[in-house]
C-alpha cells in the first residue's frame, strides 16, 4: 500500500488521458448542474430586446482556445440568433485575438442572420491597451476603420452607437490577465451592465466585481461554457468535454484521499514516507 505514496506520475497521467479520451469517443451523459452566475450570463443576453446595443470584446490568446473557445462560440451564436440585437466586436489584448475571432468564431456562427454594417461591426484589434480602451469607450469612431478597412462613417450602425453611453450590455470573453483593465476602462465608468466569460482560474477575480454589483453573470472555464451550451440548446464541444472534466475531477479527488489515508496509516504505524 505504501507503494501508492511513490506512484510513478506517468501512471497517473495515463489514467487521466484515458478518462479524458473515453467520454469524448463514448459520451456518458453525466448529469449537469447549472450555476446561478451562468444562468445570469445566459439571461442577460436572452433578455435583450430588439434594438438593444451591445459591445463585445474577445481577448483570449491561442493557447486558451481549448478552454475558452467554446465560451466564445456559444456567446456569439447566441448573439447572432437574437433578432434585432446589434453589436460591435473589438479586441484590445493582442492581434491574434482578432484573428481567432475571424478564423475560429465567425466560421461557427450563421452570419446570414445579421447584416454586416447594419447589425454588427467587427473593429478588429486596436493597439494601445488601456489608452485604446479609454479612447474607444469615449468615442466609437476612434479606430476610423473597421477590421476590413471600411471607413466607419460608411457603416449605418455607427450612427446609433457613438460611445459606451449608448450601450445596453457589455460582454467580455477574457483570459484572466486583462479583466481588471477591461472592466476599469470600458463598462464601469459608464455604469453599463456587464457579463464576463473567463478561465476557471479567473473566476475569483470576476467574483469581486459580482459582489460589487458591477458584473451580473460569469461563465467560468469549460464547465461554464457547457452549462451555457445546455441553456442555449446548442450543444457543442464544451458539453462533450464535460464528462471528461467530471471524471478527471473525481479521479483526482479519490486519488488524493486514498494517498492521504495510506500516508496517515503508514506514519502512524511508524513506517517511512
Amino acid at each position: 500500500m505504501s507503494a501508492l505514496l511513490r506512484i510513478d506520475r506517468r501512471i497517473v497521467w495515463l489514467i487521466i488521458l484515458i478518462l479524458i479520451f473515453y467520454p469524448l469517443i463514448y459520451p456518458l451523459g453525466l448529469p449537469i448542474h447549472i450555476e446561478d452566475l451562468t444562468r445570469k450570463y445566459y439571461q442577460a443576453i436572452e433578455d435583450l430586446q430588439p434594438g438593444s446595443l451591445v459591445v463585445t470584446t474577445i481577448d483570449i490568446e491561442a493557447g486558451l482556445w481549448g478552454e475558452q473557445g467554446p465560451q466564445a462560440i456559444a456567446t456569439y451564436k447566441h448573439l447572432f440568433d437574437k433578432e434585432g440585437v446589434k453589436f460591435i466586436q473589438v479586441s484590445f489584448y493582442r492581434a491574434d485575438c482578432a484573428v481567432l475571432f475571424e478564423t475560429m468564431v465567425l466560421s461557427e456562427v450563421d452570419r446570414t442572420k445579421k447584416e454586416y454594417g447594419v447589425e454588427w461591426i467587427n473593429m478588429g484589434y486596436l493597439e494601445g491597451k488601456e489608452t485604446a480602451m479609454s479612447a474607444f469607450a469615449a468615442n466609437f469612431m476612434y479606430p476610423t476603420k473597421d477590421a476590413y478597412g471600411t471607413p466607419l462613417e460608411q457603416l449605418p450602425l455607427m450612427k446609433e452607437m457613438k460611445s459606451m453611453e449608448d450601450v445596453d450590455l457589455f460582454i467580455t470573453v477574457q483570459g484572466s490577465g486583462y479583466i481588471d483593465t477591461c472592466l476599469r476602462q470600458l463598462p464601469i465608468p459608464y455604469d453599463i451592465p456587464t457579463v464576463g466569460a473567463t478561465m476557471s482560474m479567473g473566476v475569483p477575480d470576476l467574483l469581486t466585481y459580482v459582489e460589487a454589483g458591477m458584473v451580473y453573470g460569469i461563465l467560468g472555464g469549460l464547465s461554464g461554457a457547457a452549462q451555457y451550451e445546455y441553456l442555449t440548446g446548442k450543444p457543442g464541444l464544451a458539453l462533450r468535454g464535460l464528462d471528461s472534466l467530471s471524471l478527471v475531477h473525481i479521479f483526482l479527488i479519490a486519488l488524493v484521499i486514498v494517498i492521504n489515508i495510506v500516508y496517515i496509516s503508514t506514519r502512524s504505524s511508524g513506517g517511512r514516507e
Binding site: 488601456e130 484572466s176 490577465g177 486583462y178
Partner: protein, 250 residues
C-alpha cells in the same frame, strides 16, 4: 488622488526619519534569505543558475504586469552579484525584448565588480509569445540543468510549468510573483515563495538603504489607513449610514 498624495508625503517623511537614524525592523523573508543558499547549491553541483522575471503582455509597458517584471529585474542585480562572487554561471530567460539591454547592463556591472566576465549567452530573449517562452525555458532546463531556478516577476500559467520543470531536474527553486492566481502553484512546487508585495520590497530588504526602508514604512502607514477605512466603511454600511460610502464613490 488623496491617497496618492498621502503616499508621497508619507514616503518622504519616513525616508527622512530613517536617514536621521530611525530603527526599522523587518520580518524575515525566507525567499530572499535563501538566494545565497540557492546560488551556493548551484556552485557545489557545478551547474548554472537560471533566472527569469516572467511574462507580460505588451512588454514592460503593461501597467498591471510591467511593475512585477521590473521588480524581478531589480532582484536580478542581487542574484547576479552572488553568482559573480561565487563564479557560478547565470542565464536569464526573457519574454520582453526591451529588457535585454537592462539585463545585459545589470549582469555586466555585477560581474565587472568581481573582475569576472559575463558568462556567454547569459541574456536570452526567448519570445514574446507566452507558450513559446514557456517552451524555451523548459527546453533550457533540459539542456542546461540549472542547480537553482529563481522565478521572480509576473507569471501566468507557465509558472506551474517552470516550477514543476525545475522540480523534475532537481533544481532548488525560489518563486515570487504578484499574480494572485499563480501563487498557489509556486507554493506547491517551489522551495521558497515570495507573495505579492514581498516582491516589491526586495530592494529595501536586501540593501537596507534608508530610502528603501523609509518607503516601506510609508506604505505600512498607508496600509493601516486603508484597513481603518475598510473597518469604518463596514461599520457605517451595516449601520445604514451611506454618507462616507457616497463620499468615497465620487
Amino acid at each position: 488622488m488623496l491617497i496618492m498624495l498621502v503616499t508621497i508625503i508619507a514616503l518622504y517623511y519616513y525616508i527622512g526619519e530613517v536617514k536621521k537614524g530611525k530603527e526599522v525592523s523587518m520580518r524575515a523573508i525566507p525567499g530572499f534569505d535563501a538566494i545565497p543558499e540557492a546560488v551556493g547549491r548551484a556552485a557545489e553541483l557545478g551547474r548554472p543558475v537560471h533566472y527569469t522575471p516572467g511574462y507580460t503582455l505588451g512588454g514592460l509597458y503593461n501597467p498591471q504586469m510591467g511593475p512585477g517584471v521590473m521588480a524581478g529585474l531589480v532582484i536580478l542585480g542581487e542574484v547576479a552579484s552572488y553568482t559573480a562572487r561565487l563564479g557560478v554561471p547565470i542565464y536569464v530567460t526573457l519574454a520582453q525584448p526591451e529588457a535585454v539591454p537592462l539585463v545585459e547592463e545589470t549582469l555586466k556591472i555585477a560581474y565587472r565588480a568581481e573582475n569576472r566576465e559575463v558568462p556567454p549567452n547569459a541574456t536570452r530573449f526567448i519570445s514574446t509569445e507566452q507558450y513559446a517562452y514557456a517552451a524555451g525555458v523548459l527546453s533550457s532546463f533540459l539542456e542546461e540543468r540549472p542547480g537553482a531556478s529563481i522565478l521572480m516577476g509576473f507569471f501566468w500559467s507557465e509558472a506551474m510549468q517552470f516550477a514543476e520543470g525545475g522540480s523534475y531536474i532537481g533544481a532548488m527553486q525560489i518563486g515570487g510573483t504578484s499574480s494572485p492566481s499563480q501563487i498557489p502553484f509556486f507554493i506547491a512546487s517551489c522551495d521558497y515563495t515570495l507573495i505579492g508585495e514581498e516582491l516589491f520590497a526586495a530592494k529595501g530588504y536586501i540593501d537596507k538603504e534608508p530610502a528603501s526602508l523609509g518607503s516601506l514604512l510609508g506604505l505600512d502607514l498607508l496600509r493601516a489607513i486603508l484597513i481603518g477605512l475598510t473597518i469604518l466603511l463596514w461599520l457605517s454600511g451595516n449601520a445604514g449610514i451611506q454618507g462616507l460610502i457616497n463620499i468615497l464613490k465620487t
